[in-house]
């Protein structure tokens, strides 16, 4: 018996976006009826490769075989015809359309909508039963939870009778319970003989569900292995190109008094959803308090409120004096003047003005400081000179203060932000996702800087979705779930499993079955979203 033809075979795929080569001569084989994982650092080119397979981007070079047949896939229509469905990292749904409308869009039968809608309603019903994919067909997508929106995306693909399904980082936005549900669905699909490509950053998921796994690094495919024959350590090494040791050498913390006292912080966002629901904690001078949690559970809002650019109620005192939480005197500049530095989660859309030169960015947020003013004008020459110094101390490459921020690589952009915030010697430093999309060399440098600041007696609030990073840097660890701080543990005593439960919303005291609690939490969330929609 010969092997069946691979469901997908890519050969020599290359793709550039302007100067960036996102994919370099990539080849890949995926056998039918299997789940194939793809891992790689940010920007490694995973999404690009899959988008090419789905006809969203056109490859510069390379060939594609589907089920043994060579195919041209110039657009998504061709991919759909070839039986490929894709769930994008960023969903491609029409927010103010109903589920049904989203499902039939592009796959209507005939010029009139009515028959298509009727047919789709029936098909959705049977798909829902078959794969645990139930979702209200008449609900507008914007009122659905993220997990349900993802189901709509999967339904879209299945409705088009895809038997090759690509999922791009599907669990990044899901709660653990939702993620488990998704994996059950994927299991079912595999059992039906469908082929699945799963992109993820989480080695745990790869080990749990995939049959084979490919690793990408810097636009290249570095390896493809059978999951059963590899280990997370090996995959991590393949991913970054050298042994990973996510451990920082640091002395025990010498915490002093509370620098920042946060009490009962509440924040409601523009669409009326309460994002912070009574957060309280103390942040001591000389310690790193790490905040862990699945993205979207209020960590970003916590940073924004403390950083002064989101309104809140409750109280925050800095070294004994209360900070305004709304209105005049509550903005980023005032917080900086009061001694709170802030390295934002997203350096490109918050921390930097991308077209500004490095020297202009080096005072961003401090540009009204009297030391940079002479009369009405800014002391540009002095700022530039100062920036050159900072860049040298933080090993920014190239050390050219006149280069626009957008022309630095991600890691160097992060260093520019860190230099700006750290060199002001703030009493409190807020740091969000300090190493997101930053390579391993830069990570080590950044971690050293954070520890150095801690040892200098400053208070550091670290928010990160990378548990490893939290463990590596924190002296104490808090977990946020659904706008609440679920509990703070000493880093030395905390264990990963327990934090994982807290991240799913299961408190230690409740003693509940974790699964049930997670589902209850999800129900609660849906109820909230329905009422706020």
């Amino acid at each position: 018996m010969t092997d069946p033809a691979p469901a997908i075979e890519l050969q020599g795929i290359s793709k550039s976006f302007g100067p960036v080569q996102a994919n370099k001569d990539i080849s890949l084989r995926v056998m039918p009826g299997t789940i194939h994982g793809i891992i790689g650092e940010n920007g490694a080119g995973k999404s690009t490769l899959m988008s090419i397979l789905y006809g969203f981007y056109a490859a510069d070079k390379g060939d594609i075989w589907i089920k043994g047949e060579k195919r041209q896939i110039p657009d998504s229509q061709a991919a759909i015809k070839a039986g490929i469905g894709m769930v994008f990292q960023h969903f491609k749904l029409v927010q103010n359309f109903t589920v049904l409308e989203n499902v039939i869009l592009g796959a209507e039968d005939g010029g009139l909508l009515r028959p298509s809608l009727a047919k789709a309603r029936g098909v959705l019903k049977s798909l829902a039963e078959e794969y645990e994919l139930s979702v209200d067909p008449d609900m507008q997508v914007q009122h659905l939870s993220v997990g349900h929106q993802q189901r709509v995306e999967i339904l879209k693909a299945l409705y088009r009778q895809a038997d090759i399904l690509i999922l791009d980082e599907p669990t990044g936005v899901l709660t653990p319970a939702e993620a488990d549900h998704l994996f059950r669905i994927l299991d079912n699909l595999r059992a039906e003989g469908k082929t699945i490509i799963l992109i993820t950053h989480k080695l745990r998921e790869i080990m749990e569900i995939t049959d084979t796994v490919s690793v990408m690094r810097r636009g290249e495919m570095t390896a493809t292995v059978k999951t059963a024959q590899t280990t997370p350590e090996e995959l991590a090494e393949l991913m970054v190109g050298r042994k990973v040791l996510l451990r920082v050498d640091k002395a025990p913390a010498q915490p002093k008094g509370a620098a920042l006292e946060v009490r009962n912080l509440r924040h409601v966002d523009t669409s009326g959803v309460e994002r912070l629901r009574g957060v309280s904690f103390d942040l001591h001078a000389g310690e790193v308090l790490g905040i862990a949690g699945v993205a979207g559970n209020g960590q970003s809002e916590l940073l924004e409120v403390l950083g002064g650019y989101a309104d809140a109620t409750g109280s925050v005192t800095l070294n004994g004096s209360a900070l305004p939480l709304s209105g005049a005197g509550c903005d980023g500049m005032a917080r900086r003047a009061a001694g709170i530095g802030h390295v934002p989660e997203d350096r490109q859309s918050e921390g930097l003005i991308m077209p500004y030169s490095a020297w202009e960015n080096s005072v961003f947020g401090y540009h009204r400081d009297p030391m940079w003013q002479s009369g009405l004008l800014m002391k540009n020459a002095a700022i530039r000179e100062d920036a050159a110094g900072k860049m040298e101390r933080f090993d920014v490459r190239p050390p050219n203060p006149d280069l626009a921020a957008k022309n630095f690589s991600g890691g160097n952009q992060q260093k520019i932000v860190l230099a700006r915030e750290i060199e002001r010697n703030p009493d409190v430093l807020l740091i969000g996702q300090p190493t997101r999309g930053v390579d391993i060399g830069a990570i080590e440098f950044i971690h050293q800087q954070i520890v150095r600041l801690r040892d200098a007696g400053k208070a550091i609030l670290l928010v990160s979705v990378e548990l490893d990073e939290i463990f590596a840097l924190s002296d104490r660890i808090g977990v946020m779930f659904d706008g609440r701080l679920m509990g703070i543990r000493d880093a030395a005593e905390a264990d990963q499993r327990e934090l994982g439960l807290l991240m799913a919303g299961v408190g230690e005291d409740e003693g509940q079955d974790p699964m049930a609690a997670a589902e209850a939490a999800e129900r609660e969330r849906e109820r909230r979203e329905a009422t706020h929609g």
Partner: protein, 321 residues
């Protein structure tokens, strides 16, 4: 105001609302597809000119209409080229198109007719005739409803009825057909349309094309229905009022009808009365002239319900940065 005066005012409301309505629906198609169009004015103007010019030259209002449709659609495709193919700034393109039309019409008119930027007056079959609906005269004696039917509903030119019919047609196309679904989707989330395997570019060009055709109707009506010939700048800001009506209507066809009738009524009243005396307070005619614009600002300010435009409006669809 007695009944017959009221009918008179409403009758002229109908006439004045028609070009607004056609242009408003034109804008609706374009903006629902995510292409903002402040060039409605220019397209109407060029259609007005070419339909009058060709009608004057051939004596056929139908050939005039054809010329109006073609010219307006061509200009629409210039906008499409700028905003869809070359991902240019849609607002700037619209401004440019308004200028282009304002200049070209006079330039060509002067070259062809030598009458200082106007066309010769249209006579006979060069203009739309008013259509008398069946039984209009027979029913006239019926109290209240008779004159209403005979004076207000009957007796307009074909394009007025076309304008009215376009409202349900637009609604039906947008909300009951595959094309409409895709068109609305492309204005909200072009990436969703693209990944569903439908061409964003194709849809947007189709919408821009329809926009051109409807503007063509609007311009033709101005020059060969409402008036008998083209004069320089004869659209006189109607394109902008149509845009205002579109916002007022929150991009919905039936509301567009309402908004255009309201603005038509304002114009009709302003045309007929210099100043309006409201028991001691005199409202100057300039206030009536400015009222559509003031109302639009009030609507935009969100004091009377929020106008949420199609999400992808004004943004070129860029896949690869």
């Amino acid at each position: 105001m007695d009944y017959s005066t009221l009918l008179q005012v409403l009758d002229s409301t109908m006439r004045l609302a028609t070009p607004l309505l056609l242009a408003c629906l034109a804008g609706l198609f374009s903006e629902r597809a995510g292409v903002i169009d402040i060039g409605l004015e220019g397209k109407m103007l060029i259609a007005a000119f070419f339909s009058a010019a060709i009608a004057a030259a051939t004596g056929s209002v139908w050939l005039g209409l054809l010329a109006g449709l073609v010219s307006s659609t061509l200009l629409s495709f210039v906008h499409g080229l700028a905003s869809i193919t070359f991902r240019g700034n849609q607002l700037i393109s619209g401004v440019a198109i308004n200028f282009l039309a304002a200049g070209l019409t006079v330039l060509i008119a002067q070259d062809w007719f030598g009458q200082g930027g106007r066309t010769p007056s249209l006579i006979g079959s060069g203009r739309w005739e008013n259509i008398t609906l069946p039984l209009a005269e027979t029913l006239r004696p019926v109290p209240v409803l008779g004159p209403l039917y005979a004076d207000l509903i009957s007796g307009h030119s074909l394009l007025v009825y076309v304008g009215l019919v376009m409202v349900p047609v637009t609604w039906w196309v947008l909300f009951r057909t595959r094309f409409g679904l895709r068109l609305r989707a492309v204005g909200e989330a072009p990436e969703a349309v693209d990944t569903a395997g439908v061409s964003v570019t194709g849809l947007r060009y189709a919408a821009v094309g329809i926009c051109g055709l409807l503007c063509g109707l609007a311009g033709s009506y101005l020059a060969t229905g409402l008036q008998a010939g083209f004069v320089k700048d004869m659209t006189a800001g109607r394109g902008y009022i149509a845009l205002a009506a579109l916002i007022f209507a929150k991009w919905r066809p039936w509301s567009a009808l309402g908004a255009c009738l309201l603005f038509g009524l304002l114009q009709a009243v302003a045309l007929r009365y210099q100043n309006i005396d409201l028991g001691g307070i005199t409202i100057p005619v300039q206030v009536m002239d400015a009222l559509p614009y003031i109302l639009t600002v009030v609507i935009l300010a969100g004091f009377v319900g929020k106008a949420i435009p199609p999400r992808a409006g004004g943004e070129p669809y860029v896949k690869e940065r």
